[in-house]
Amino acid sequence: MNFRFRQPVPSEDDDDLALVKRARDGEVDAFRALVVRHQRKVYAVALGIVRDADLAWDVAQEVFVRVHRGLDGFKGESSFFTWLFRITSHVAIDSVRKERTHQRDEVDEVREIDMEEAGEGILSTGLGSDPSDTLLRRELADKMEAALATLPEKHRTILVLREVEGLSYEELAERLGIHKGTVMSRLFHARRKMQAALRPYAEIEPARFSGGTEVASKVEGEG
């Protein structure tokens, strides 16, 4: 008589390390659960770095293939999350490496001239100090991806790792192989460029959304 062994389906409460252990033991459903749990965030990080949705999809797939391949070598010294996103940033950066070689002349240090364009406070004026989900903030969120795409690769990467993955200065320094001081100044440049790209929306949009006076007066004028 043949008995078929049915593999247990991973529960919601299984943490990553437990899933990794089960996946390492050959449990297909455990690895599947790891993919499902992290696929969207891996894709989001990849998308921020590579800019192209289809390439980001391919990068995310390659990440999980490498994770599967490397499960035996994963010792659990860092969290699975850290390991997963280290692979993600490496694969994503590798896929746009060509772009990086053309932009080595970008300086990281902050100079006097950089300060001249900073600190206008336009974004905060347009968006208001209340970080709650206003209509303009939602509109601006739609522009973030396009604004990010205008940045060079190294600025996109550091912003995404900081803002999406939530890495600290030390973790960024380790991940990118640069000094902590360079991390801080590169982040400054990245944010400044991002804000410059968003500024046109923040300058124009507030009038439309502060009671709609601009739109209303135009309509009246036409009438």
Binding site: D114, L123, Y169
Partner: protein, 164 residues
């Protein structure tokens, strides 16, 4: 101005990311510098927007095929470490695991066979060159003549043989 260059990169740091003395110095600078306060306000106003935007984009995409594509790429079967416990090592498994060695050995065998064949062909041809012409065919007066190593052989129609 020069102090702004020093403090601007520190704006946006999270708690405990700066040494205590630097955090105090930054706070003092922000208290006195309207431009750096504006930078900090801009940063605070857009905080979280990028992460939200990218996650919103990821959430709007249909991920239904994603996991199946990944599982197909990784083989969607128990990992090798698991398989090794259940399966005995076989010659096929050894050859799979030593792909480069197998390829070199196969190439060597093919090369050796080709060399032996070429040697035998040339050697035999040099010894009996007449065999090369053994099957020449001529048409002489409507009869078929085979040129063999023993001389021409004329194939006669049955009618001619009987003298018609």
């Amino acid at each position: 101005m020069r102090t702004c260059v020093r403090f601007a990169p520190m704006i946006g740091s999270k708690e405990c990311e700066l040494p205590e003395d630097e955090a105090r110095a930054l706070a003092a600078h922000l208290g006195a510098c309207p431009r750096c306060r504006a930078i900090a306000r801009d940063l605070a106003a857009t905080e979280g927007l990028l992460g939200n935007a990218l996650m919103a984009r990821a959430n709007s995409r249909d991920f239904a095929p994603f996991v199946d594509q990944v599982m197909a790429r990784v083989g969607a079967r128990p990992r090798p470490a698991f398989e090794q416990v259940r399966r005995r090592p076989s010659l096929l498994a050894f050859l799979r695991g030593h792909g480069r060695l197998t390829a070199v050995a196969a190439a060597a065998v093919v090369g050796l066979l080709a060399a032996v064949s070429a040697f035998l062909y040339v050697h035999r041809s040099a010894e009996r060159p007449e065999e090369l012409a053994a099957l020449e065919v001529d048409l002489e007066g409507g009869n078929i003549v085979l040129q063999t190593s023993d001389g021409p052989v004329v194939l006669i129609e049955p009618d001619d043989e009987t003298g018609g």
